[in-house]
């Protein structure tokens, strides 16, 4: 399933947040969206998944939704959004319960996604017993359980320390390599963007406009931290963003 952002414009109160965003998100590709803080990139992601409505423009889905897909547009949140009163398996099962699957089938899905995120041993653990990285892996497992057509990742690694972030990035790449998914990955971290994005969309500061879309040809599994090509690209992105980020930092908050 492909997604098209068709001239998305949005304002909060009188203030323009997003201005005429046009983007294509083809199936099987990860699109990273970067931009200075407050440029509306998380708002854009909420619009893609239907959690918020743009003032003008539309988000269009094209092509058939894959069979046995329970929730085509599925989020992974920055703060994990796990139910603290449910176990790891219970949190995954939450998103299956409304679909009336046979008990054996959901148990099988849960076991499968927990295995893919290496959480099988933590089946009955409560979220408070888990580290930040494990919590995010549970959230990823939950997202995989509904077999999404598009994964919408809202700064999924921003609440984690840098070592955990590195490990989880490798996990995400491995998951993609095993079964390529369509992804929209919002982040302010350029290192994550160059590691995980097939294309990187750079937004300007408020009102967020599309400044540039950078393509990276290196296959995801071949990318390593500190590769010269990626470093160069990161510098280029930073040059694109630096002034904007400085200006954004000087702005008064109106939100």
């Amino acid at each position: 399933m492909d997604l098209t952002l068709d001239h998305i414009t949005h304002r909060y109160g009188g203030m323009a947040v997003l201005d005429d965003i046009v983007l294509d998100i083809p199936a099987g590709e990860i699109l990273c969206v970067i931009g200075p803080s407050g440029c509306g990139k998380s708002t854009l992601l909420r619009m893609i998944g239907g959690l918020e409505q743009p003032d003008a423009g539309r988000v269009l889905q094209r092509g058939p939704v894959p069979e046995d897909c329970l929730n085509p547009l599925t989020y992974v949140f920055q703060d994990f959004a796990l139910l603290p009163w449910r176990t790891v398996a219970g949190n995954v099962s939450l998103v299956l319960e409304d679909h009336g699957l046979p008990r054996a089938r959901s148990a099988q899905i849960i076991a499968d996604v927990l295995a893919r995120t290496r959480l099988t041993d933590f089946h009955d653990a409560l979220p408070r017993q888990l580290s930040g990285g494990m919590k995010q892996r549970v959230a990823i497992a939950r997202a995989l359980a509904v077999n999404p057509a598009v994964l919408l990742l809202d700064e999924p690694l921003s609440a984690l320390d840098s070592q955990t972030r590195e490990l989880l990035m490798e996990d995400l790449v491995a998951l993609w390599a095993r079964q390529p998914f369509t992804g929209v990955y919002v982040t302010h971290n350029l290192a994550e963007a160059v590691r995980l994005g097939h294309r990187i969309a750079v937004l300007s500061r408020r009102p967020g406009r599309l400044r540039d879309v950078v393509e990276i040809d290196i296959p995801l599994p071949e990318r390593r931290a500190g590769m010269p090509e990626l470093e160069a690209l990161q510098t280029r992105l930073w040059d694109l963003m630096k002034e904007e980020a400085m200006a954004a930092d000087q702005e008064l908050l109106h939100v």
Binding site: L70, L94, E97, D98
Partner: protein
Amino acid sequence: MSDAVDGPRPVRFRGGGFRPVSVRGVGVVVFVLLLALIEWGTRAGWISNLTLPRPSDVAATLVALAKSGMLWTHMAPSLTRLAVGSLLGVSAGIGVGVMIGLFSYVRAGLVPLVAALFPIPKIALLPLFVIWFGIDEGSKYALIALGTFTPTVVSTYGAVDNVDRTLVRMGQSFGLSWWSIVRKIVLPGALPGILSGLRVSLAIGIILLVAAEMLGAEYGIGAYILQAGSLYDLERLFAGVVILSVLGVLTSWAIGRVEQRMLRWRV
């Protein structure tokens, strides 16, 4: 002085305190000491027996009350009234509180009404309740129900408001039905707040129980205390008060157990 400044010296620790730790047994010790002090004072004579009864006499009265079977005669109707009244009040309160938390129109319509009902001393309405619900148990149930209803509503909708909105957003993003979100996300998330509100509501329920029984009941802890008070029988009066305290401690303990069981997921 000068070498003290230059030489190595340990950094002074200044980070302690401001963190309550649970200390076992101290509560019991304070209680026992206070009783011992009163016992000593009444025996030695520097507390006159018009001021305070002797704790041992109160205990003896309690034992006699239990032996004569009258303890149960008074407890049974009181416990029934408390159970029926607060069950009605609390369940209606939780229901209305959840509705206020979920629906803007219900909130707009009922929050001012609850705010108007809350500060009314419910005991002032007892004559009215006697007309509405009869002199018997009905008016007592109604009094306790109304008294526990308002605090339960307030704490319940506060608890629903405090449920983490990102969890609700998550539920919506996975396409959960409205009913699933309420049942699996909102209600469990509000449970801690509802239970801690229940402690307050049930304590208010006990207060109103006694008030209702003082105004018209043959048997019941309140009636027992009222009788003792009008005869200035301090031993029996305090025996009644002790029963009420124990009742309060027991309900609080019971809620504590429920919290332990149902909120095991909390830290």
